[in-house]
Symmetry: C2
Subunit: 138 residues, 2 copies
DNA sequence: AATAATTTGACGACGAATCGCAAATTCATG
DNA sequence: CATGAATTTGCGATTCGTCGTCAAATTATT
């Protein structure tokens, strides 16, 4: 089976069909989705699932480290599938696809920041917006 | 008077004492605050103001470009005072102070991103966390 | 001071997110 | 494959942040 089932079993949680379906949506879409959007997509596929369960499953996936959250400007919370620990997201403005990217050049940025205004950089959150390789061709 | 009053007059809006007080809190604090927090701070100062007015004033300040918003992970929306157009925020983890910083090294980052995975960078949102110069000394 | 405009406060509406509990599902065991 | 203990699910109610409505108050102008 997949990793999520194993991770759940290792923590004494059940790997249910419902949870697998929520994770599947995130895996397929690879873009930021609200709990409501995920719920609607599942219902559209003819799958019966409650909104509460979607919320609880998403919370679980975030705890497992396979999903990340983002607070939208309108107060909603969006979720996206992700695989590695520390990274950032490049969001395509055309198709919404989310790619994971490293944070290489931040080292020099941190140096400049300390030299310039004495700020000691410890962590950072970056969101990048633009066109993914597919959408940039058109 | 100050700039905000002039900007309001130029748009046919009134520069009221209430609005000045909300702006004053943001100017003094220089950190991300929710509408509720701002409301409580004003009430604690003995100022009578409704939560609705705080919300409306914050919306107005964002429209004027003197405040910026951030969606928190719990779905709340926070506001911070800011002065220049495009910039990013360095948030002190000790005192919460927010400093504005430029985005110099992003140019090279954009080049690497395009070369690496074909992503065309158009815009970005960055939040930096660490210690401001004062807190770093202790 | 009078007038026309905007703004304020109180109240309610709305939606996102959470909680409690009974019913259903999952999983290990025999 | 049936059984039982554990977890999970669904439903409804609830909380909470945010926004809309409208009469009363405030502001700016004459």
């Amino acid at each position: 089976m997949n990793e999520i089932s194993e991770q759940l079993h290792g923590k004494g949680r059940y790997a249910t069909r419902t949870r697998e379906r929520v994770a599947q949506v995130l895996r397929e879409e690879r873009r930021y989705l609200t709990a409501h959007a995920i719920h609607e997509m599942l219902v559209a596929r003819g799958i019966s699932i409650s909104l509460s369960t979607v919320y609880r499953t998403l919370e679980l996936l975030v705890g497992l480290g396979v999903a990340a959250t983002r607070g939208e400007e309108n107060g909603e919370i969006s979720y996206v599938f992700c695989t590695v620990q520390h990274h950032h997201h490049a969001v395509c403005r055309t198709c919404g696809r989310v790619e994971e990217v490293g944070c290489g050049p931040l080292a020099r940025f941190a140096r400049d920041l300390r030299a310039g205004q004495g700020f000691e950089l410890e962590d950072h959150a970056i969101e990048l917006y633009g066109r993914c390789s597919d959408c940039a061709k058109r």
